[in-house]
Every structure is written in structure tokens, then in C-alpha cells.
């Protein structure tokens, strides 16, 4: 039984990190209806910036975590300004392709730095011994990851619900024309959404980098791996991302725990999210929490 509970706990922990990574997609999609395929690269970039600040510039980890978030804030904002701004109003395929192009460009840029091919790891700043209660163990790193995730997600939710800018962001996501006519600067909102997504990416990257070590491929592959979570949650719902993240985390842990090694199956954790996603989409074509667009004739 403790095996089961260990899987549940690990699933929730992994899931909340998924949720944090998915958050970036949701923020951007929610305001500008863009699916940013290059998010994995931004996650990797965030992790590398944190590493560079901590190890090369010897800034304390907590501080560099924040600085990294600020840097990616402006980085993502300028990405939006340079590439996406020109494409407002273009068909969806163009915008997806721009982010794919962006993915390649960021790949190229990261290959220019040592991070492209090196394997690195963060210095240990948490005790290596795990927290153990009732026979279930969680590492400090992951625990910190979960806490940071939930703090950030509640901050973002609060921001969307209460703050004036958040309200205008929601207005833009609802109807761009109408919000423009009441004086909201739509491009500014898009820029801000990207910037916030960049921030969340840096946070996610630093946490993942702490868990897996810094390997560019592992980190940016995470961008693709998190797609099922984003879609399952319904693309434009923060709560959806959290719930879907945890569901996917649990599915993966249970797949690895109960399917792998039996009946000649292996690596099911990589494919099961996609299968379950397809099944759920057949019943709920807009994900679990996505908004239905009502079609009028």
C-alpha cells in the first residue's frame, strides 16, 4: 500500500511541475490565442540563466532565481515584440509555424553558448536527504518545486482575477475588438502575457534543471512532453492546467509503476498521456476546462 501512496505522492509532485510548465502555454493562449511551441526552449533558457548567475557570477541561488525570472520576463516580451506582433490577425497555422521557427532560432542561439552541448548540474543547495513521513519520501528539491509552483499559480490566478491589468487581459481574451474599443492596448496585453509566460518558464526551468541536471535536450523536450497537459486542461484555463498536470503526473507514475515491466510493456509513461488525451478529447473536444466557442448561424 505504501507503494501506491508513494506513486500518488510522486505523481502529484511531478504533476505540479507539469502544471507550472503548462502555465506558460496557458497564459499566452488565454490572451492571444497563440500556442507557443518554443516554450520548451524558453524553459531551458531560464534554467541556463539561473545556472550562469549562480555558478559563474556566484549570486545566491534564491536571488538568481528571481533575476532569471526577470530576465526571461523581458526576453519573452521582446520575442513577442519582434516576431509575434507583426502576425496579429494572421491564420492560426502561420502563428504556430512562427513559434516553430522561433524554436529553431532559440536552439541555434543556445548552441552558441556552452550550454548547447555541455552537461551541468546545480550545486546542492538543499539537503540531499529526503523528507520521509509514513514511509513516503520526497526530496527537498521537489518539495520546493511544488511550493514554488503553487505560490506562482496562485499569484497568477489572483493577478488575473483581481488586478486591473489582469482584468484587461481577461477582457482581451474574451473579445479583442471590444477591449480595443474601451481603450485597452491589445498589443501591450499580448506582450505582458508573453512576459509572464517567460517568467513562469524560468521558474519551471530552474526547478526541472535541479531535478534532471542541465542537459539542453532533456530540458527542451519538456516543452513537447507537456502538450498533453496543456490540451487536456483546455488551453485557456489555469485551473485546468493544474488539474491536468496532476492527472498526467499520476497517470505517468501509475503507468511506470504498474504497467512497465509487465506484459512486455516498457516506457508507457511516454505514450499513455497522449492516448488518454485522445480518448478524453473525443468526449470533451475542448479539454476538461476549456471554453466552448458557441457557433451561430
Amino acid at each position: 500500500m505504501s507503494y501506491f501512496f508513494q506513486l500518488v505522492v510522486s505523481g502529484i509532485v511531478t504533476g505540479s511541475i507539469y502544471a507550472l510548465s503548462a502555465l506558460g502555454f496557458v497564459l499566452i493562449y488565454k490572451s492571444s490565442r497563440v500556442l507557443n511551441i518554443a516554450h520548451g526552449q524558453i524553459i531551458a533558457g531560464g534554467a541556463f540563466i539561473t545556472y550562469a548567475l549562480t555558478v559563474w557570477l556566484k549570486i545566491p541561488i534564491y536571488l538568481s532565481f528571481f533575476i532569471s525570472m526577470i530576465i526571461t520576463f523581458f526576453l519573452a516580451m521582446s520575442i513577442e515584440r519582434i516576431f509575434l506582433r507583426r502576425l496579429i490577425g494572421e491564420p492560426i497555422i502561420s502563428i504556430i509555424m512562427v513559434t516553430i521557427g522561433l524554436m529553431s532560432i532559440l536552439d541555434g542561439i543556445i548552441y552558441l553558448t556552452p550550454f548547447g552541448t555541455y552537461n551541468l548540474s546545480f550545486p546542492d543547495f538543499f539537503p540531499k536527504r529526503p523528507i520521509i513521513f509514513w514511509g513516503i519520501s520526497i526530496s527537498w528539491t521537489r518539495m520546493a518545486g511544488v511550493i514554488i509552483t503553487f505560490i506562482l499559480i496562485s499569484l497568477f490566478s489572483w493577478f488575473f482575477k483581481k488586478s486591473p491589468i489582469g482584468v484587461s487581459m481577461r477582457a482581451v481574451s474574451d473579445d479583442q475588438m471590444a477591449s480595443m474599443s474601451v481603450g485597452i492596448s491589445v498589443p501591450k496585453v499580448f506582450g505582458l502575457a508573453w512576459a509572464m509566460a517567460g517568467m513562469s518558464a524560468a521558474a519551471a526551468g530552474s526547478i526541472i534543471g535541479n531535478i534532471t541536471g542541465l542537459n539542453f535536450e532533456t530540458l527542451h523536450a519538456f516543452g513537447i512532453a507537456v502538450f498533453p497537459v496543456v490540451i487536456l486542461g483546455g488551453l485557456d484555463s489555469i485551473i485546468g492546467a493544474v488539474v491536468a498536470g496532476i492527472i498526467m503526473g499520476l497517470i505517468q507514475q501509475f503507468a511506470a509503476g504498474y504497467l512497465d515491466g509487465n506484459w512486455g510493456l516498457n516506457g508507457t509513461a511516454d505514450v499513455l498521456p497522449y492516448i488518454i488525451l485522445l480518448i478524453i478529447l473525443l468526449f470533451k473536444p475542448h479539454g476538461l476546462f476549456g471554453t466552448h466557442e458557441i457557433e451561430r448561424v
Binding site: 500556442l35 516576431f83 507583426r86 502576425l87 494572421e90 492560426i92 497555422i93 502561420s94 504556430i96 509555424m97 512562427v98 516553430i100 521557427g101 522561433l102 524554436m103 529553431s104 532560432i105 532559440l106 536552439d107 541555434g108 542561439i109 548552441y111 552558441l112 553558448t113 556552452p114 548547447g116 552541448t117 513537447i224 502538450f227 498533453p228 490540451i231 488551453l235 510493456l265 516498457n266 516506457g267 511516454d270 505514450v271 497522449y274 492516448i275 488525451l277 485522445l278 478529447l281 473525443l282 473536444p285 475542448h286 479539454g287 476549456g290 457557433e295 448561424v297
Partner: protein
């Protein structure tokens, strides 16, 4: 009235049959025929290296695949991030035959035209199956459904021992009228075979697009409610689009497997799906001409960047990282620049040039 069918000016259609013509003037037709004949003749006149032929074969296979992708993404407007998997289905149809019957089986070595067609059919069947969610899903949700198919395909091939767990499954050399196609002639032989298939596919699609089977694709892209009211089942039309696209992809996959004499998973990954999309975009979505330009341009770019990075590595031996970064950088920049400055792709240039020449010397 005397009609000069060599020029566009002063030429009027007298029947609706005339308007159906693919080439409106003799001039156009003559240029096209000369071009095709040149494509057939030049390898006999100029001695070419295997590499050059391999590159050309690759480009033409990509053209067939992109024709398929353009039908579903360009014409029918359904984003497919799983096109490489369809191509893979084609290749793995051959591979599966090879696993079951042995790679020297007569079906693979002698009946290869049939096998290529069968692979196309397999692609079409899977296309229809993957297209099923299109009945309910829209936009990004559909795009991610095709991505899921790509992932499931990769996983299945990678973990099934029947498919050799993603390792290359060998396929023997084929026989033609003159006996076995030897290593020396391999690339030339496939150059001609693929060229014929490309021309046939090109004409088939051109024809399809001027009939109801082609128009319905565009209809569901532009407005699927109106299409519904015009008597087309939007869902089934989308499934049909996927299946059509799967057919071409399947053929491309089979040709790829024959050309490389084996099918291995790493030619059909997500990365390839993305490259296919890029080719379609750069060529020009929703145009047949774009399906020819896109793959050519992207492959040419690839080769150029490869040479450039080799050249830089000679002069800057320590700066290997610059050389390695060039490829993704160039690829990404080309996509982004095209989308920003020429979203209609190279096909649009083609259109401009054509109208420029057509009106020449009477430009106004």
C-alpha cells in the same frame, strides 16, 4: 476568327471545355514539356555524383509528401503535426512485408510498383483513422490530436520487436527489366522512378483540384458551415482530406524505404513532421506549385548551411559551436522571415513572375 493560341493576349475561350485546360497557351505547354524532357535527359548527358542524385531523390520524395500535406493543411486547412508518421506508415508497410516474408521476397524486389501503391493505400487507411477526431475536434485541439498520433506511432515502432524496435529494417535491391538495380545505378534508377511518380501525382492533384473532390477540401477550410449547407458532410470531408494526404505520404514513405534500402524510425520523427510543415509554408500553403518549391528550397538551404558551417570550421577550428548553431538558426530564420514578409510563400513569387512574363511586353 483566327486564334493564336501561343499568346495569352487576344485569346478568348469559346467553350467551357477550353477553359478547363491546364495550360492556357501552347507556349506554356511547350515550356512545360521542354522542362520535363530536360529533367529526364540531363542525367544521361551530364555525369552526376551519387550524392547529387541522392539529394534530388530526397527532394522529390519530399515533394510527394508535401503534396499530401498541402492537401490536408493547405487546402483543407487542418493542421497536421503528424505527417512524418504517415510517411512512416508507408515505409513500415514495406518493412512489415520484409519482416513477414523476408527482405528478398519477390513481392518486394519485383512487384515494387504494387508495393508502393499498397503503401500509399496503407497510408490512406491510417490517414482516415487519424482523421476521425476531425469530426469533433477543431483548430489546435485537432493539431494536438495529430501530434498524439505522431507520438503513438513513434512509441509503437520503438517498443515493438516486430518492427525491430526502431532499428533499420533492411529491404533488398529491386529488379527492373534489365535485372537487379546495382549500387552504381541505384540512385539514377530511383531518380527516374520518383520523377515519373512526381509528375503523375502532380497531374492527378491538379485534376482533382478542378473537380468536386478538390473543391470540397477548400470549402471546409473556408467555411465548414456553408460547406455543410452546400451538401458536403464537413466531418467526412475532413476525414477524406486526411486519407488523401495519407496516401501521398504513404507513397513517399515507400519510396524513402526503397531509396535508403531500409526503414528506420529516425526518419519519421516529430522533427521531420515539423520540417514538412516548414516546407509547406515556405513553398506556399494551399498551392500546388508551392509543394514543389518548398522542399526544394528547404533542402537547398540545408545543403548550403552545411557547406557554410564546414567552411567556417576550416577557418575557425575552435569555434565549432558557431558552425553547429548555424543550421537551426538558418532554418528558423527562413521560416520566420517567410511568414513575416511573404506568408504566401515562394508560390506567390512564381505567380508574380508568371503574370509578369504573360503580360510581357505589354505591361501596364
Amino acid at each position: 476568327m483566327s486564334v493564336n493560341r501561343w499568346l495569352a493576349t487576344g485569346n478568348f475561350y469559346e467553350s467551357y471545355k477550353q477553359e478547363q485546360r491546364i495550360f492556357s497557351t501552347h507556349c506554356e505547354r511547350a515550356v512545360f514539356i521542354v522542362f520535363i524532357v530536360a529533367l529526364f535527359l540531363w542525367p544521361l548527358l551530364i555525369k552526376t555524383s551519387n550524392t547529387a542524385l541522392l539529394v534530388l531523390d530526397e527532394i522529390m520524395i519530399a515533394i510527394i509528401a508535401i503534396i499530401g500535406l498541402n492537401l490536408v493543411t493547405g487546402f483543407a486547412g487542418l493542421i497536421s503535426i503528424g505527417h512524418a508518421a504517415f510517411v512512416g506508415i508507408g515505409a513500415y508497410t514495406l518493412a512489415a512485408t520484409s519482416r513477414v516474408l523476408g527482405d528478398q521476397h519477390v513481392l518486394l524486389t519485383h512487384a515494387w510498383p504494387l508495393m508502393i501503391f499498397l503503401s500509399g493505400t496503407a497510408g490512406a487507411v491510417f490517414g482516415a483513422f487519424v482523421g476521425l477526431p476531425a469530426i469533433r475536434l477543431k483548430h489546435l485541439y485537432l493539431a494536438i490530436a495529430t501530434l498524439s498520433f505522431q507520438m503513438i506511432f513513434q512509441w509503437t515502432i520503438n517498443f515493438m520487436s516486430f518492427f525491430n524496435q526502431g532499428q533499420t529494417i533492411p529491404i533488398a535491391r529491386v529488379y527492373c527489366f534489365t535485372g537487379m538495380v546495382s549500387r552504381k545505378d541505384h540512385y539514377l534508377f530511383w531518380y527516374y522512378t520518383i520523377l515519373i511518380i512526381v509528375v503523375v501525382c502532380g497531374f492527378c492533384v491538379r485534376n482533382l483540384l478542378r473537380t468536386r473532390y478538390g473543391r470540397c477540401l477548400v470549402a471546409v477550410r473556408d467555411n465548414d458551415r456553408a460547406a455543410d449547407a452546400m451538401g458536403m458532410h464537413p466531418g467526412l470531408t475532413k476525414v477524406y482530406a486526411f486519407s488523401l494526404s495519407g496516401f501521398f505520404a504513404g507513397i513517399a514513405g515507400a519510396l524513402h524505404a526503397y531509396l535508403y534500402r531500409g526503414a528506420g524510425l529516425d526518419s519519421f520523427t516529430l522533427h521531420h513532421s515539423i520540417t514538412y510543415l516548414a516546407m509547406a509554408i515556405v513553398g506556399g500553403l494551399g498551392t500546388l506549385a508551392g509543394s514543389f518549391f518548398g522542399p526544394t528550397a528547404i533542402k537547398a538551404l540545408d545543403l548550403q548551411v552545411e557547406q557554410l558551417s564546414e567552411w567556417t570550421s576550416v577557418f575557425l577550428p575552435a569555434a565549432m559551436n558557431l558552425a553547429t548553431a548555424l543550421k537551426p538558426l538558418a532554418f528558423g530564420l527562413v521560416i520566420v522571415l517567410f511568414l513575416i514578409f511573404e506568408p504566401r510563400g515562394i508560390a506567390n513569387w512564381w505567380r508574380i513572375i508568371k503574370s509578369y512574363i504573360k503580360l510581357w511586353p505589354f505591361k501596364y
